[in-house]
């Protein structure tokens, strides 16, 4: 099995997933951040910074894992390696994503408690 061919497929799949998920999160995360900061300009900036960090981490990780592929002598091994690596990327993305949601939620809760404290 041609190794370069597998690498190309891998980079295409991983890049596509990263970009699509990033777009989706960028569009939907804006409302959450806006709820937190109450300032459109500032939340747009924070959103863009988060997207940049996300792209950097993911594309960096994808580039690192290219050298970590195992032996690919046959089709079966190529499919296995491809699926394992793409699966790892998806799992990492999902974990980071839920982590982000939890952090934003915790921040907004803290802000709410401060507001309540000021009001009383």
């Amino acid at each position: 099995m041609n190794t370069l061919f597998v690498y190309t497929i891998y980079l295409c799949i991983a890049g596509l997933i990263t970009i699509q998920v990033g777009k989706d999160l960028h569009r939907n995360g804006y409302h959450l951040i806006l709820d937190l900061f109450d300032n459109e300009q500032f939340s747009k900036t924070v959103n863009n910074l988060l997207l940049t960090g996300y792209y950097l981490v993911n594309i960096g990780y994808i580039a690192i894992t290219v050298s970590k592929f195992g032996a690919m002598d046959s089709e079966v091994q190529a499919i296995e390696e491809l699926s394992r690596n793409v699966g790892t990327i998806l799992l990492i993305l999902g974990t980071l994503h839920f982590n982000n949601i939890i952090v934003l939620h915790a921040l907004s809760k803290r802000k709410q408690s401060i507001i309540n404290y000021i009001n009383t």
């Binding site: 989706d24 939907n28 959450l32 499919i79 296995e80 990327i89 998806l90 999902g94």
Partner: protein, 150 residues
């Protein structure tokens, strides 16, 4: 025999992806009402939070499905040691037939659906918890308002 292993993968992938999509569609169509309740009727933030959770669900479940796709071949291999004229000759044989195909396929899909079920129950627990919390917060806010009026 590697031919049959490839066939197993080809059968497994569409089933796993379809299962994930169906579960996510059903779950997140119904969780929208919960989200609206949690965010006390603010349509925009409820929709986007729902969508964020949906993305995370897809990522985790498809990631798990792909991560666990590899078939452990040593399970089906039989090793034989034979002595031919005093020299040890070891041979490996991969016994992977139609029966093994169905067995591994069903065990993998079963594992995936169990994990999906656990995830759905966890998310449901989170939704109920959020609903309770937001109701408590709303009650507290009303109380504060009433106290201020007095």
């Amino acid at each position: 025999m590697t031919d049959l292993i490839v066939k197993t993968y080809i059968a497994y992938l569409p089933i796993a992806i379809l299962l994930t999509f169906i579960v996510a569609r059903i779950f997140f169509k119904n969780s929208k009402i919960f989200m609206l309740d949690i965010f006390s009727g603010r349509q925009e933030i409820a929709t986007s939070t729902n969508r964020l959770f949906e993305t995370g669900f897809y990522l985790l479940s498809l990631g798990f499905a792909l991560f666990r796709m590899k078939i452990n071949k040593s399970q089906f291999t039989t090793y034989k040691n034979e002595f031919v004229e005093g020299v040890r000759v070891s041979t490996e044989e991969l016994g992977y037939g139609m029966q093994e195909l169905f067995e591994t396929l069903s065990s993998k899909i079963g594992m995936l659906s169990v994990v999906l079920g656990i995830m759905v129950f966890f998310l449901m627990f989170m939704l109920f918890r959020g609903k309770k919390k937001s109701a408590a917060g709303r009650a507290r806010k009303e109380e504060l308002q009433r106290m201020q009026e007095i």
